[in-house]
Assembly symmetry: C2
Homo-oligomer: 420 residues x 2
């Protein structure tokens, strides 16, 4: 892994993160963390160090890292008294809020073990997870409202690599996963920054097309799926970057291949079957379907992880409804790689997906200025959670439904049905 070539790619990747993802401004501070594990995992240190060098070269005043440790979560859940699992350490939240109040850039580096907590008691895991979500809610909201320029990227962890490439040796699995990350983030291209500009331009044309249509609903058909999903008036199709409240244009996920908006929290009907496993709260949920009536989940079933899925939708009332709908063609480079990544950052960019839970204010016209009540009356959803699950495949057809009830193809066999 420590080859010169790897080190060069890591440096280019770090530059993409700083220049394209965060678009870090001279004089900003940069904070690096991972809210799911309460901090960046130690295996990401080589990437963190390159990002720090790149950030200082870009004029960062200070690069501050909050580190975390997955194993400690496991040790806690295995050894601590059950009634202590809802205890929470507030400094993570007060620290993150200080950082956001200051307007510092915020980088999240993921790369967790997707199976970390799979063998533990789901009740214990859910108690721990819920305490985190409830306490961390203010931070999640500030980020999802784009208070500052933020970005989520990945670094290869040993358990994650082994999960994606189980037949390879540990070393080869990690090298292969790094190759996938470098390719998906265009870090392997001669001029990654220019490649990103071109990519963003194309995505924005797709979003503009859908934006102009203002469909009142989308209708999904696929094996195990027949779902009608309302789109509220004033929904905004977003892609590859937004301006943050601190004035900086940024791209919140690298890679990104999606265009997305919000569904109407009260107008989702029918059943959708997931096309990829979902890694949630340290466990995998596989082969699952979700049925909606008037926006609310009324039935779930899963061949594996059903209890974890049920815990997820019991998180709060908003976790029983959808907050995001995203379109990704099966020709996306990540989909074409043919790998299942067991990590939302990658899998969501290989497949059309929906998110259970929180809706982003900026996906609705005027949403940022609304009270929570107004936002919900306009079709938006509120929850302490936001979990993407994948519903697209080469068998997915999606129609756009106009106000008059007439239909128009949006996707056919998982591919765009229109030119933009």
């Amino acid at each position: 892994m420590a080859s010169t070539k790897h080190q060069q790619l890591l440096k280019k990747y770090a530059d993409v993160i700083v220049k394209v993802g965060l678009n870090l401004r001279k004089g900003q501070r940069l904070v690096i963390s991972n809210s799911r594990t309460r901090g960046v995992l130690a295996h990401a240190a080589p990437l963190v160090h390159e990002v720090a060098r790149s950030a200082y070269a870009a004029g960062a005043r200070y690069v501050d890292v909050i580190w975390g440790d997955e194993e400690l979560i496991r040790i806690r859940l295995q050894n601590a008294a059950r009634d202590s699992l809802s205890e929470y350490s507030k400094w993570h939240v007060t620290g993150a809020m200080d950082i956001l109040e200051r307007g510092d850039a915020f980088l999240t580096i993921v790369g967790e073990n997707p199976d970390l907590l799979s063998d533990l008691n789901p009740d214990a895991v859910a108690a721990w997870q819920k305490a985190h979500l409830e306490n961390f809610k203010v931070v999640g909201e500030a980020l999802s409202n784009n208070k500052v320029n933020w970005c989520v990227v990945a670094s290869v962890g040993p358990e994650w690599a082994k999960k994606v490439f189980p037949k390879l040796s540990a070393e080869k699995a990690q090298a292969k996963l790094w190759d996938e990350i470098f390719r998906a983030t265009r870090s392997d291209q001669p001029n990654p920054v220019r490649a990103w500009k071109e990519h963003a331009r194309k995505l924005k044309l797709r979003a503009a097309y859908m934006q102009a249509k203002q469909f009142s609903a989308l209708h999904y058909t696929a094996p195990g799926t027949d779902l009608t999903l309302g789109l509220p008036r004033g929904h905004k199709w977003i892609t590859a970057g937004s301006p943050a409240a601190n004035g900086v244009d940024f791209i919140p996920n690298l890679p990104t291949e999606e265009i997305f908006t919000l569904p109407d929290r009260s107008h989702v009907d029918g059943t959708v079957t997931a096309t990829l496993p979902l890694s949630y709260s340290g466990s995998l949920i596989e082969n699952f379907s979700v049925t909606f009536e008037k926006g609310r989940i009324v039935k779930v079933s899963a061949k594996k992880g059903e209890k974890t899925l049920k815990k997820l939708i019991e998180t709060d009332e908003g976790a029983k409804r959808l907050g995001e709908v995203a379109l990704v063609p099966v020709s996306s480079p990540i989909a074409k790689s043919g790998h299942l990544f067991y990590n939302t950052l990658f899998d969501e960019n290989a497949s059309c997906h929906l998110a259970i839970g929180h809706a982003y204010r900026f996906t609705l016209e005027g949403g940022e200025a609304m009270s929570e009540d107004e936002f919900m009356k306009s079709g938006g959803n509120a929850s302490i959670t936001h979990v993407d699950f994948m519903v697209g495949s080469s068998k997915t057809d999606i129609d756009g439904i106009r106000e008059d009830g007439s239909a128009e193809p949006v996707m056919r066999q998982g591919e765009w049905a229109f030119k933009a």
Copy 2:
């Protein structure tokens, strides 16, 4: 390193830390950090995990770890704008204060690279160090006033091991340093907890002897040393444990071989020559002498690191005076090992030492209740820093001076001159 025997010793060491050092109470939270590096270094993870298991077994409600990263400090000092080095991230301080206000137990795990910043510009290092000391002062004071039960222990870092055992391979150096830690902390004994009780009993007899004497001064003679050091009225000789404000008896350092009290900040005269190098702020200071007049340092000289030493005493007014005097015989197990550890936790338990800077309130009768002004008028010293340096060897003689000016041997040739 990952042998079963190593793992067993690590587990026993973790138990010593939790049961003897911290004396963790059922229902307490435990926080693990390292203020010098803003968090525990990643190489300490195996020890952290064993301590967490031991703490949960002892009834801890939550084991919370603040992780740090030395390399990031180096990257910052090498790459950040010079005028940015005094910027500080407040969450470390607010987080630590939250923890101390709650009364949680606080464990510090050291094991830094003693040469981390040796090749960097001393002005840059000093600017960074000073910002940390000034901001972290409130935390340091809360700990040194024993607000909670706290403890400092070591975990082997690769650079540290290589510095102590430069002729050994990286792996052998680390194994050897672990052996030294296990031995010094009595973790290799059949019943470490009982061994600690016996050890603490003996140390307390020494402290009680010195306490009863109430010498008005100590007089040091050794090659390059002729120093008279006043002891204020009401000075208290402390050893191996104190009760914290939260009511828990604890031992703040493992290992510990010293008995210590405070010198009179205005009555130190003469010259003292260090007998071991001092690792301070990522650099080594070697072969140095310090001359005092009326308590104040008036001259320093060092064959190596003189600039770093001068920066240290320029930290503030209190850094020009002494805050601690500690006695350790040359027969201490750590001294007998014959190794130089380049780490205060070990070297200070192999040698009589003095500390530049802050004096502990609990070393003066009634000190905890005094205002800073009262404390200083009574002979105590105040500073944002507290740095031990070693002055004892087999050539050190120390006399206790009575109020009438008569003398009595306290140490001869580095060994106790009295029975206790």
